[in-house]
């Protein structure tokens, strides 16, 4: 009986491998009629880049399926991979990806008839591969995350991962066609799913935890290099700048919402305060207070003004909590916008020129380096947006350093304690009111700093840029990405600024889509895309398995990080 089963499993495996091998051949065939389909999939023996992406997924599935036959000869590293789950994810991922390609071709070229047999074969064979992997028994949890490896391997892996991220981001952003953009996005998602299934991400996250400084530097280097991938075009850099401004503001909100657990629904006001301060102080002909200050001083003043505003709003309102605070801050956000409208010389003193705001803010100039001009560097033209991008990169680096130092300090611990149990925190001697106020002021300072750069990048500041919807999106970025985390908020901010920009044809349904996404997130992953360890437990209280998993992870993590101290403790 068992023999029969084993024989059948063997046959299924062979079928899967054969299908995968045949599937690899399909990339040598054309998938579509008409050159405009995706990135031109019409050649024999000339696979396009998007076809190669399919081949990569299928190759992984093939290797994962065949790995069972070479079990005895696998190395330590290969043994720790969850091969069966990898095969499943890669096979089904390839099928999903092929399907996305077919749909894109049909949409782009007008109908299913535009798909060549090669495309259908690609989809069918991937489906067979994935199906074969699906019926075969699954694998145990990958142990890759607990594997020890020499530091240079880890650092090399981080560098490689970062290079891949840079390449993928540049490729994705340079897609002019929305179909290309979406199809490559599908591929990226599939790669992430496969990486998780194999346990590769567990290993990478451990490597990242062990080499935190290397990781930060590599990430920063990649971000720094990004303008060079744009061939002098400013379109994507403009989007990137919006993302960075949004992310820096969201990071400030992350202190208030993510660490302290206070719901602030009017956060855009602090960005506005910073922007207006910088605009009013600038050398624009419309600035009411025009003072000749060096830019770093302007940044500081903007931050201080925003945090003063934070203190002003916080002092009376932080005595109420929960829903009440949300309502009060929401009202405050609106009051800010209306006040900026009214400071026009008619209803009050003229500071902001009312609804006209402050236009024509001149470009920044650092020691003769004018940020408004195109500079030629390393054979690439770097436009105005690239210059501001680098300035914003410095701002976001400062914001991240401030946030992470605060989060891991004694003050950060007090903040999290307030979020978890305010009364208990008070009983432990935490001055809860002062700490909450500090969070308000500190977060507002970061947002104000971002605002000052925003004023110069946008060249104009007006009250209608700071509407409630922006506050809602900031909050969404924090919740979607993962409250209290740095990476999560960066991802959340990127998604929420980038997708609306790229998916223009969806504009009318933007809020609908966004609402649906939020509902799905709250149902399936309330802790956000990147989960904070503490938060994850909070949201899955009843999930014993997860609790055990987190416990295991924590123990293995820490014992790998500080093997000596832990051994000493057990002995």
């Amino acid at each position: 009986m068992t023999e029969k089963l084993l024989a059948r499993a063997g046959a299924v495996r062979v079928a899967g491998v054969v299908a995968a091998a045949l599937g690899l051949v399909t990339v040598l065939l054309p998938w579509a009629y008409g050159k405009t389909a995706l990135d031109n999939m019409t050649y024999f023996f000339g696979p396009s880049f998007l076809q190669l992406c399919y081949a990569i997924l299928l190759l992984v599935a093939l290797v994962a399926l065949a790995a069972k036959w070479f079990r005895g000869r696998l190395g330590r590293f290969a043994k720790a991979v969850a091969w069966a789950d990898t095969a499943k994810a890669a096979g089904l991922g390839a099928a999903g990806y092929a399907l996305a390609c077919l749909v894109a071709i049909a949409v782009q070229n007008g109908g299913l008839v535009m798909i060549e047999p090669g495309g259908w074969a690609a989809f069918g064979l991937a489906l067979v591969t994935g199906g074969a992997a699906l019926v075969l028994p699954g694998s145990a949890k990958p142990t890759l995350g607990k594997l020890k490896s020499p530091p240079w391997v880890q650092i090399l892996a981080i560098a490689a991962a970062m290079a891949v991220v840079l390449f993928a981001a540049a490729y994705e952003l340079n897609r002019a066609d929305i179909e290309d953009f979406l199809v490559f996005g599908c591929f990226a998602v599939a790669v992430v799913v496969v990486g998780r299934a194999a346990g590769l991400f567990g290993w990478l996250s451990l490597a990242a935890a062990n080499n935190r400084r290397v990781l930060s530097l590599a990430a920063f280097a990649v971000a720094f290099a990004f303008p060079f991938t744009q061939n002098g075009s400013d379109a994507n850099m403009s989007v990137a700048n919006q993302v960075l401004i949004f992310a820096a503001t969201a990071m400030g909100l992350n202190i208030v919402v993510g660490l302290v657990g206070l719901l602030d629904m009017g956060y855009i006001a602090f960005l506005g305060a910073g922007a207006f301060t910088a605009a009013v102080l600038s050398k624009s002909a419309f600035a009411t207070l025009s003072v000749d200050l060096p830019f770093p001083v302007t940044v500081l003043i903007s931050g201080v003004v925003a945090s003063l505003l934070g203190l002003l709003i916080g002092t009376p309102t932080l005595r109420v909590s929960g829903d009440y605070l949300a309502i009060v801050t929401l009202a405050f956000g609106e009051i800010f916008r209306i006040t900026m409208n009214n400071l026009d010389g008619v209803d009050g003193p003229n500071i902001t020129n009312g609804s006209n705001g402050v236009p024509a803010i001149p470009n920044l100039d650092f020691f003769g380096f004018n940020l408004g001009q195109v500079h030629h560097f390393l054979g690439v033209d770097l436009g105005r947006q690239s210059n501001y991008y680098w300035l914003l990169l410095v701002v976001i680096a400062v914001v991240i350093v401030v946030f992470s130092n605060l989060a891991h300090s004694r003050i950060g611990r007090g903040w999290v304690a307030i979020r978890e149990d305010e009364l208990a925190a008070e009983a432990m001697g935490v001055n809860t009111f002062a700490l909450k106020l500090l969070a308000f002021a500190g977060g507002a300072f970061l947002a104000g700093m971002a605002g000052s750069v925003k004023a110069y990048r946008d060249t104009a500041v007006s009250p209608d840029q700071f509407v409630f919807l922006e506050s809602a999106f900031l909050l969404a970025a924090v919740v979607l990405g993962g409250m209290g985390t740095i990476g999560g908020v960066l991802i959340g901010a990127t998604l929420l600024k980038l997708l609306p920009e790229k998916l223009r044809f969806f504009e009318d349904y933007r809020l609908l889509l966004f609402g649906a996404l939020m509902v799905l997130m709250m149902r399936f992953r309330p802790e956000g895309i990147v989960a904070d360890e503490r938060r994850q437990l909070e949201f899955h209280d009843a999930d014993e398995e997860l609790a055990e998993e987190v416990e295991e992870d924590l123990v293995s993590h820490h014992s790998l990080l500080n093997p000596e101290t832990d051994r000493g403790a057990v002995a």
């Binding site: 611990r413 007090g414 999290v416 925190a425 009983a427 437990l537 403790a569």
Partner: protein, 237 residues
């Protein structure tokens, strides 16, 4: 003069008076216990002493100074620590973070380090699992952590609110033994308990509360022998 003195204390939640005129004193180095059933006002008294709720009438004196107008964090700084009812650990934070939060009001890093070692020395399980979230521990272990966390402020007066609540008899014994050890180290303790037998066998003095008033007050030995206490709290016929 007593270390802690409470005079004619009245505390109310809205219009409902939970404590209706309590006076008590804790001498330096003593273990004093407050006994009584649910709703007698024991926890409310502790909360008021530590500044979490203000009194309606009455005074609280600590080391010769009046503290009933001070906010909670200043009272902790003066040397009163509390392990609150139901433990109220920060469940998603690690053991070590919980303990460090107990020391939040302190500025002396060396002293904190020393006290951390001291707590780990008292409870070995906390040291070996110090990076794990507190919520994953058993009830008894959580109680150890709650006591350890209160100890981390290096208090002159330690207030423990029902440390035996919800624990097995063996765990209760272990916790009581720990309190005994703290006592022999010279820590002054104000202990709120429903388990009168366990509390009285540790304590120097005891107060019995009923619906917000003190109905009995005597040395622990006398209370253990008192017929009324035996009938009401110790289950004797």
């Amino acid at each position: 003069m007593a270390m802690l003195e409470v005079k004619d204390l009245e505390v109310a939640y809205g219009r409902v008076k939970a404590v209706k005129g309590i006076s008590l004193a804790v001498e330096q180095g003593q273990v004093v216990t407050l006994l009584g059933i649910n709703g007698a006002g024991k926890s409310t008294t502790l909360r008021c002493i530590s500044g979490l709720i203000p009194p309606v009438v009455g005074e609280v004196w600590f080391e010769g100074e009046r503290i009933d107008k001070l906010p909670a964090h200043k009272i902790v700084r003066r040397g009163i620590a509390q392990s609150p009812e139901g433990r109220r650990l920060f469940k998603n934070m690690s053991v070590e973070d919980n303990l460090l939060l107990g020391a939040f009001s302190r500025q002396d890093a060396d002293g904190v380090k020393r006290d951390l070692d001291r707590v780990y020395g008292m409870f070995d399980v906390l040291r070996s699992r110090r990076h794990e979230p507190a919520g994953l521990f058993s009830g008894g272990e959580q109680q150890m952590l709650a006591i350890g966390r209160a100890m981390m402020s290096n208090p002159k007066l330690l207030m423990l609110d029902e440390p035996s609540m919800g624990l097995s008899p063996i765990m209760t014994q272990l916790i009581m033994r720990t309190i005994g050890e703290l006592q022999s180290e010279g820590v002054t303790i104000l202990l709120v308990e429903q388990n009168a037998q366990a509390a009285l066998s540790l304590a120097d003095r005891g107060y019995v509360l009923e619906v917000g008033r003190i109905v009995l007050c005597d040395s622990a030995a006398n209370l253990l022998g008192d017929d009324r206490v035996r009938q009401a709290y110790l289950g004797a016929d």
